[in-house]
Symmetry: C2
Subunit: 394 residues, 2 copies
């Protein structure tokens, strides 16, 4: 047994989060793709079966009230709120991330006022944010400019309405400095909209503490809500009365069953709702959040950094001459993934998956490995690096 | 046994669709709220359990390809297409009805061109369509005017960009004349957007035949997809290349995994997609559509009219002096529900539900009874009228 093998054993033995792994359905595969689709929490199938057979099958329409379906979007929002540093009443769940980006960017532009004619977007963003920001700009009569997060402070000006940024870069795993960028955006009089897809559930976000105006995030990555589970939207309490949604569906009406022909928006986070929520996906997510019982995000972050440190060390030891990490070494710049660049990365990932190590490939040349501290072990990290070295040696 | 009891028995015995009832989970309740939430198809729980345990739990990320998750929105769209009279390649599933109304109305206004500055909306619409149309008008620089469907022909003019209409009025159950209204809209050079929430799965729609430009519809009513199951969007083939979505998420990109920073919309119905689809809700819907195997919409319509005729007859016989029907008598003006007006309708519905007859209440004074020919029997109709009479007599 190698020295790194032994180290992995020791690290796992000392890991206070290790028992959480039993809350998930896992097998012999080293699953390092939880940053794309989180693993299945073990109790979710039974809970969802009850939703289907009893709540839908037996209670049918009565479940909207009796089973709490109607209030699920805000109730689940409250479960997510502490994971992203939000006090109650500011997070609502529903729709896809893309749709929530649209709500947030349009609403931010409107809050900024007519004189502020430019929206800035992260030039390194996951594409959908850029496409949707472009649409939001076009529909609100603004221009859109793409800048890298590092250049945002220089790009800000009196015409800046809002800035849409990613907390963690989906490709490189770089963690951006949310507190200082938000402060710079506010100093310029603009609004900060953060995409938390790759940070929610992986590291502390501190939305309230850092004064973020609006945020959106994904629930099927580190929150393990299931494939395509609904996204969340955070609207800072102080901004809620000015949140003027471009998607004013009946679910966000102050009196949704009054069936009034005129729109009167509900107060609070509910204003971010649109149409009838997709209950099956939503209640699977609600159940999935039970795995956070007793878990502190700070502990998750500590393990995440230890895992990625260790993985980088193993990769350097086993395959340092064949791959290059594009994920920052500095902890304050690292999310919960490691991205390695190598030749023929697409083919390499296929072989890795065939050999029981699941990450994913992002063009043109990046291997992504996501580390979910709730269920990833140090032994997983060591084995992934070892198998990678074998694959790279052909 | 009364004469109407015997008639119900005879009608059920002669009903070719009667065996379909066994495809659903039903009990002793007379469930006449399938126009709000369709009953659970009996095979859906097992199918969804397999999606959760095997596709998510075991295959995890591989299911996007191997289990066909990625292509589910258009695949399920193809299942719905024949039910609404659409040839392949024009229907896609995803997002809520409200969000799809937004896509359709904005896209229609853009297709109409800058000179057409007014959008018309059904003044009797389910409220969300009006709210969303108002938002679409505001964002595209148009004005919005609410007119009743009957007044649409007079309201059309050279400035009309698009008209958003409901095929069946959610409150009264009135069926509007889709062919002639669409023709009138086209004669004025405008685009017709139809909301099929209360007609899809209940009666023939004939989207292609009647030249409808865009349509949206619900899948959790007569299509029994489950609570909040994703809606569908129809974009007429001839209009697809001009469909300029206000929600251009990465799922509608021509090369979604190319991760290009610039948006290049996919051809065809896929252009109506936005973000990552909610797979659990979506695949429950897909399974639910299996109940349509071997079923013709024409036969469903014939039974629907027979059921509502019979229910109206029973109501007239048992309680004709205490309620008034607001649903048209003429077949060509009737959807698949019967709406009765009476005093204290909210209280009456509570008592009906307690007595095992489930309809719903729509303010201010309407009792709604939806008839789903796939599982509603003539005996149900007779019993509902009989219990209603008992409740009304106090």
């Amino acid at each position: 047994m190698s020295e790194l093998n032994l180290r992995a054993e020791e690290l796992d033995a000392a890991d206070g989060l290790a028992p959480l792994r039993s809350r998930f359905v896992l097998d012999d595969v080293v699953y390092l793709d939880g940053n794309s689709l989180g693993a299945l929490p073990a109790h979710v199938p039974d809970r969802l079966a009850d939703v289907v057979r009893r709540e839908w099958g037996e209670l049918r329409i009565r479940s909207w009230e009796e089973s709490g379906w109607w209030t699920a979007p805000e109730r689940i929002g409250e479960r997510i709120a502490p994971l992203v540093g939000a006090a109650p009443g500011q997070v609502v769940v529903g729709d896809s991330t893309s749709v929530n980006v649209f709500k947030a960017v349009v609403a931010a532009a409107r809050m900024a006022g007519e004189d502020r004619t430019e929206i800035l977007v992260d030039a390194t963003t996951f594409p959908t944010d850029g496409y949707v920001a472009e649409s939001a700009a076009r529909l609100t009569g603004r221009t859109l400019r793409a800048v890298t997060p590092a250049r945002v402070p220089d790009a800000l000006g009196p015409r800046t309405a809002a800035v849409l940024l990613n907390h963690v870069d989906y490709r490189t795993g770089r963690l951006h400095d949310l507190p200082s960028l938000t402060a710079a955006i506010h100093a310029a009089g603009a609004l900060a909209v953060w995409d938390l897809c790759h940070s929610a559930g992986a590291l502390p976000v501190g939305l309230d503490e850092h004064g973020v105006d609006l945020a959106v995030g994904c629930t099927y990555k580190y929150l393990n809500g299931g494939p395509g589970s609904p996204a969340f939207l955070y609207v800072r309490r102080a901004a809620q009365s000015r949140f003027d949604s471009p998607l004013p569906g009946w679910n966000s009406h102050a009196d949704p069953f009054g069936m009034s022909p005129s729109y009167d928006p509900a107060p609070g986070a509910v204003r971010g709702r649109v149409g009838t929520p997709d209950i099956l996906s939503m209640l699977a997510l609600e159940a999935a959040l039970d795995v956070w019982e007793g878990v502190q995000v700070g502990a998750v972050r500590a393990k995440s950094l230890a895992l990625t440190d260790f993985f980088l060390e193993c990769v350097a030891e086993y395959a340092g001459d064949r791959v290059e990490s594009v994920t920052p070494v500095a902890h304050e710049e690292r999310g919960s993934q490691v991205s390695l660049r190598c030749e023929d990365a697409g083919e390499v990932m296929k072989k890795l998956i065939a050999a029981g190590v699941v990450g994913d490939f992002r063009p043109p040349d990046v291997l992504r490995f996501g580390f979910t501290p709730l269920y990833t072990s140090f032994a997983d990290a060591e084995r992934a690096a070892r198998v990678l070295a074998t694959v790279l040696r052909g």
